[in-house]
């Protein structure tokens, strides 16, 4: 980028429609599943089985009561076999749930997540402002908050490193998800699995470009609750991040710090490539505090 002014203004411009990005991208493959066994209509116009699935969901949403296959079939004027097939697929994707005792159906949890998971990124920044400031003050490093945007990390908030040196606001910048701590936290907690196996670009010798190994790392990130990048994006730089969750436990963003390896990692041996424990705890505390404000933790 030329000129600091141009960059500040340009970087600030959020890509269009970013607010809803995390949930707007639906894998077309999931619809192929719905179509399997039915006639696939490859022309513009309504797809009958999707219309029928929608009718079933609407019916289940219309009352507090659970409904059985026969009831649904009668209400919709469809053969029971057709209804059962659609229900099985809806159950597979989590949109409906079947009661163990009665065999009746109700709306599934995944459906509620899709409807209400959207957290405006500008709202996320507003809610996170105090805690991200505190994190920068305690860690003495710069802080970023990111959300997933088409497989990359969109920086939605940036707090300068508190040393009064000249720094440029990076809100609106995109970071590679597989090579940043923010990205790994987001990928590890992403129900849509936006990991693009073919897009694993190597930035340094330390970047993980093997999809299998990356998936193992993400499983570990998910289990321990935080991620790091040790010289995986830029040589000499390290980042640490943890997930921000909302009241339903859905990961709506990640918060992290980044800085030179000499400051963020230990001094010798194995420690020299491991982020310092107190910095990890500052990051996790900030993430928990924001999550608590969003209602994720009931105390």
């Amino acid at each position: 980028m030329d000129g600091r002014n141009g960059r500040a203004a340009g970087a600030d411009r959020t890509p269009e429609g970013v607010g809803r990005a995390a949930w707007s991208k639906v894998d077309p493959a999931s619809f192929d599943n719905v179509e399997r066994g039915c006639t696939v209509i490859r022309m513009p116009g309504p797809i009958q089985s999707i219309e029928r699935a929608a009718a079933i969901l609407r019916l289940l949403a219309s009352g507090a009561r659970k409904m059985g296959v026969a009831e649904l079939a009668t209400a919709l004027g469809l053969p029971k076999g057709t209804v059962r097939g659609i229900l099985r697929t809806l159950q597979h994707v989590g949109f409906v749930e079947q009661s163990q005792d009665t065999g009746k159906y109700q709306l599934g949890a995944a459906l509620f997540h899709i409807g209400s998971s959207y957290l405006d990124v500008n709202e996320l920044r507003t809610r996170a402002l105090n805690w991200s400031d505190s994190l920068a003050a305690r860690s003495k490093e710069s802080v970023r908050i990111g959300t997933l945007h088409e497989g990359q990390v969109l920086v939605v908030h940036h707090v300068f490193r508190p040393d009064n040196s000249s720094q440029v606001l990076e809100v609106g910048a995109l970071l590679p998800a597989h090579a940043s701590a923010l990205g790994k936290v987001l990928l590890a907690n992403d129900p849509l699995d936006q990991l693009d196996d073919a897009g694993l670009v190597g930035f340094t010798p330390a970047t993980c470009t093997d999809p299998e190994r990356l998936r193992e790392m993400l499983a570990e990130v998910r289990a321990r609750g935080w991620a790091s990048d040790v010289e995986e994006m830029v040589e000499g730089e390290v980042s640490v991040a943890a997930p921000i969750r909302d009241r339903r436990g859905v990961t709506v963003g990640a918060i992290g710090i980044s800085g030179p390896i000499e400051r963020l990692c230990g001094m010798t041996g194995e420690d020299a490539r491991t982020p310092r424990v107190e910095l990890v705890s500052y990051v996790r505390e900030a993430a928990r505090a924001i999550s608590r404000d969003l209602g994720a933790i009931p105390w």
Partner: protein, 498 residues
């Protein structure tokens, strides 16, 4: 380990908060509780002072509990408060004689007009730095004395006491009846030069001296708390805007800040001499540390900024939450020629026109809700520009950087536009909660938690900076259109309007 932290109580217009800070000035814990807004009649706004006191105790204990610390871990507590809100209470029982009258309340409108009829709106300005207006505490005291039966006689005997919220809380905490210079400077009853109640002002306003608190500095130990916070030194009091100035470490003449909240307040440190404004600004006390000389400030108040976004959310229903306005505004490239002047209750600084009402100018068939969202945000920036121009003219010093704080600083689009229209860098410090921080700093200075203001300056760090990138021509055209839109708000209210 004891005395590791400083607590600040922010008794605000809609809620009371307690924030605990560590030595680096970082937030350790926060608790907040809203209180009721009581609207007995159109234009009247009241608070229940007893409810506020209960909430303040709750949030202090709440903030301590969240961190699993006790009152013994605190070196002191400082107070910052909504300014001008007025409460009178019985000195014997401690029971308020009436709900507190909130700063926004306009019930003293008639009284203020009567006072202005004899000598004009600025008749007391030379002494107290303020024009006659409904906001200030003096007229509110007078209204209570005139309208609550028996209170005037008892006030004359010192049996009924007056306080702004700082005084009320210090009295409840320590039993002492004191206020600080910044809160006293908002009553219209204090002489800015002597920093004492002025007999001429008291006589004109009809307020007996016996009911008034002692005026102290902003940073000293007023007393020690009793009750559940027993032993805790109560060591600072600052009006909210002055606290923000102090928290932003604007300790040198020419340094200033703007706090973006419901309304917005730009304060500029003018040093040890009060500067009289020729451009519609207020002269006020910035702060006073113990025995040191007072520092004065010029203040530009903008009535409607964040509240315009709230109006856009609640009354227009175009967004679900205030931060979403940025998302909506970014759906378009510019304001489409649309300007929104939110003179909902007239124009404040620097115009002071009570006969103005809001306009949306430049409407065409092209305008979408996105353009309106832009115009709503831009209104805050243009109003700031008008106040900065007035301040530059009054002080004779050009503002070179604007320090900002408050909730709206989370809005990057607004902060960039603000930098563009002011043509100076806009800087947000690492602690956006400068109001609480200022009260904590003053209390910490008073008990030696921090040695001096230089140590506090070292805690100030840039968290974000927006640099101007607008072409001069675009800025000038935009400002010209804004000023034309402002002209169109004036002379709207007629004599026979209710």
């Amino acid at each position: 380990m004891s005395h590791r932290y400083i607590a600040a109580i922010d008794q605000g217009t809609t809620s009371s908060r307690c924030i605990v800070f560590d030595e680096a000035g970082s937030i350790v814990s926060v608790a907040q509780k809203e209180h009721r807004q009581i609207f007995p009649k159109p234009g009247w706004v009241e608070h229940d002072a007893e409810e506020i006191w209960a909430n303040v105790l709750d949030v202090v204990h709440g903030a301590l509990q969240k961190m699993s610390i006790t009152v013994h871990d605190l070196a002191a507590v400082g107070i910052t408060n909504q300014r001008e809100t007025t409460v009178l209470w019985d000195a014997e029982t401690g029971v308020p004689v009436h709900n507190a009258i909130v700063w926004q309340d306009t019930r003293t409108d008639q009284l203020v007009r009567e006072l202005a009829a004899d000598g004009g709106q600025d008749r007391f300005r030379a002494k107290c730095g303020l024009p006659l207006a409904t906001y200030f505490a003096g007229p509110k005291i007078r209204w209570l004395l005139d309208n609550v039966p028996g209170v005037r006689e008892r006030a004359e005997r010192g049996e009924v006491l007056f306080g702004t919220m700082d005084t009320w809380l210090i009295w409840k905490l320590t039993g002492r009846h004191v206020t600080d210079v910044t809160n006293a400077s908002r009553t219209m009853l204090m002489d800015l030069a002597t920093l004492d109640w002025d007999d001429e002002l008291l006589a004109a306003m009809g307020v007996p001296r016996a009911m008034l608190p002692e005026i102290r500095s902003s940073a000293e130990v007023y007393g020690h708390a009793t009750g559940t916070l027993a032993g805790l030194p109560v060591a600072s009091a600052l009006g909210d805007q002055q606290a923000a100035l102090f928290g932003q470490t604007c300790y040198a003449p020419g340094e200033g800040k703007c706090t973006y909240g419901t309304g917005s307040f730009l304060l500029l440190n003018t040093g040890e001499q009060p500067v009289q404004s020729a451009n519609g600004l207020l002269t006020t006390v910035g702060y006073k540390i113990g025995d040191q000389p007072a520092t004065y400030a010029l203040e530009g108040a903008i009535a409607v900024t964040g509240s315009l976004v709230q109006w856009f959310r609640d009354n227009m229903g175009l967004i679900a939450s205030a931060p979403e306005i940025e998302t909506l505004a970014r759906t378009v490239e510019d304001n489409g020629g649309c300007y929104f002047v939110p003179a909902f209750a007239g124009l404040f600084a620097p115009h002071w026109r009570g006969d103005a009402r809001g306009v949306i100018a430049g409407l065409t068939g092209y305008i979408t809700k996105g353009h309106l969202a832009r115009a709503v945000l831009e209104a805050t920036a243009w109003q700031t520009r008008e106040v900065v121009d007035a301040m530059n003219a009054d002080s004779g010093v050009e503002l070179t950087t604007l320090r900002v704080d408050g909730g709206m600083t989370a809005n990057n689009l607004l902060m960039q536009f603000l930098s563009d229209v002011l043509d100076v860098p806009v800087v947000r410090p690492i602690i956006a909660e400068t109001t609480c921080l200022g009260a904590a700093y003053a209390a910490g200075l008073a008990v030696g938690f921090w040695p001096n203001t230089d140590a506090l300056r070292e805690n100030w760090h840039r968290a974000a900076e927006w640099l101007p990138s607008m072409e001069a021509g675009v800025r000038e055209r935009g400002y010209r259109k804004w000023q034309k839109a402002v002209q169109r708000t004036m002379d709207w209210i007629d004599e026979d309007d209710e």
